[in-house]
């Protein structure tokens, strides 16, 4: 990686972070909304911990995995919308007329998303620890959790970038958000899969990749070092990341179809 490329990635990532930081709604909402939902769920679904076989006596610890996924989704939507706006306003054309390498744009954009994702993950983790959650996997688990948060930020971020580059429309990017939330609600977010009694829901949750992302984070919080959950979680996250990066790269090449 030469210096010019590194500089390009840095200024583009910096721009992405600065833009987000200057839109308070884009910072506060992804931080506050998942934590509010956590508070509501922890209060309303506390009785679930009494179910035989429920893996923990603390629903907050059980549900703490959810904000990580929701936060990544929010950050992704915002970043994707910003990229779509760049296309609509012609800002991407301006960048296209510089000797910018397409991959620098993608890396810069994702760099901004990762930074925001990391800040969010640190906040969720801190809030969890502050309300009494203890990480079963210890300090090492916290580091792995942050690394996982970075990985899903890249995966979802690339998906948002793909939508933005493919459609060039902020509205189209935002319309993905409800779809992502459907995936989230049809996962094991509120109950372990083995305790879901409705067959079709359990089947859907089992084939839903989001379940494995949640279970990976959850395992670090309430189980400790669960090799299977970690392997499945990181595996699914890697597949999502590789696929979305490939799709985003193809769309970027098409979008930057300069001669």
């Amino acid at each position: 990686m030469n210096q010019r490329f590194a500089d390009q990635v840095y200024v583009l990532a910096r721009r992405s972070v600065v833009r987000t930081a200057r839109q308070p709604a884009n910072v506060i909402f992804p931080l506050v909304f998942p934590l509010l939902l956590l508070a509501v769920n922890a209060g309303g679904l506390k009785a679930a911990t009494q179910l035989p076989g429920f893996p923990t006596s603390s629903f907050v610890a059980f549900a703490l995995a959810i904000p990580f996924i929701q936060g990544a989704l929010f950050a992704t939507m915002n970043a994707g919308t910003d990229l779509a706006r760049d296309i609509q306003t012609g800002f991407l054309n301006r960048l296209s007329l510089t000797p910018m390498r397409g991959v620098a744009l993608l890396a810069g954009q994702l760099g901004g998303i990762v930074t925001m994702g990391l800040i969010q993950a640190l906040v969720y983790l801190s809030v969890g620890l502050a309300v009494g959650v203890r990480l079963a996997s210890g300090f090492g688990g916290a580091l792995v959790l942050l690394a996982f948060a970075v990985l899903i930020s890249i995966g979802f971020g690339a998906l948002g970038a793909f939508a933005a580059l493919r459609t060039g429309s902020g509205e189209a990017v935002q319309s993905l958000f409800p779809a992502f939330f459907v995936f989230l609600f049809l996962s094991s977010m509120n109950l372990p899969r083995n305790l879901i009694e409705i067959d079709w829901f359990r089947t859907v949750a089992t084939v839903n990749p989001v379940s494995y992302l949640i279970e990976c984070i959850r395992s670090l919080i309430i189980v400790g070092w669960d090799g299977e959950a970690l392997a499945l979680g990181f595996g699914v996250a890697l597949v999502i990341t590789i696929l979305s990066l490939a799709l985003a790269s193809i769309s970027l090449r098409t979008r930057l179809a300069r001669s």
């Binding site: 200024v11 833009r19 200057r22 306003t89 012609g90 054309n93 510089t98 300069r258 001669s259």
Partner: protein, 335 residues
Amino acid sequence: MTVNERHGIEARGLVRVFKKGPRAVDGIDLNVAPGEIYGFLGPNGAGKSTTVHMLVTLLPPTEGTARVAGYDVVHEGPKVRAAIGAALQEAALDPLLTGREHLRLQTTMHGLSQDERKRRSKELLERVGLTRAADRKVRTYSGGMKRRLDLALALVHSPSILFLDEPTTGLDIQSRLALWAEVERLAREDGVTVFLTTQYLEEADALADCVGIIDHGRIVAEGSPEELKAEIGRPTVELVPADPNERERAAAILARFGELQSSAEGIAVRLRSGEADLVEIVRALDAEQIKVENLQLHQPTLDDVFLAKTGRSLEGAADEEEPVETGADAALEPA
């Protein structure tokens, strides 16, 4: 002497056809000399922006060839982009970044060293008069300030050719004049070739060494403003009779001095023998006792040239909005 110092812009038979749109550019030939200000004049939807997008490598031509700074726009895109600066229609700025941050981004993307970035940014902010506003977010800028910043961004890498797509549209007269002065200085003092699209006659008239008039994707006239006006040649007299009932008699008198022209308010005639006829017209009207509310002598303008070449006035000749597509749109929807 490098390639781009010896070359301006050349295009032969440039065509762009959009799948769901018209033949936006329909066989354009261009020859812009180095250091020249070329005014590309035409109404909205005439094909100006599509031509610029092809010349700056953002849009591949459907047919034809073009060389910018000596490089082929299709096969030598990176070299073309390194030689040109462009401020495209609607200043594409990030409202959340400051002017200085825009320059930092642009200088970095162009690979300037750390020291050069600072020096060039400072120099350009001074040049476009934005030093005091440099640390304000762009969303607080006026239209003129945005255009000046846009120009500064196009100049960070000292291009030899500058494309300005309707740079003064929507600006007040003061901002427009300031931008004209800067464009003129770039061409006259720095030797930058400027390709400027505009729908303002006075802009082309004041700035351009050579004007190409484009209509429906074709160049209908080309030459210096003086040459083009001389081609039309003769001045026009426009008369409004005090009594509207005298219109026909007044028209009959004017017809003796040349060909009658369409006129929104009165009767107009293109003088056969030049402005010397004006005295004779006044005498003839006086002899017929026709009272006149308004009588004006018009020297030929570029609008007259446009009228003569297209049968329409440039004012109000706007077609539908020009379908400018990005490379991606073009790639996704081939013609």
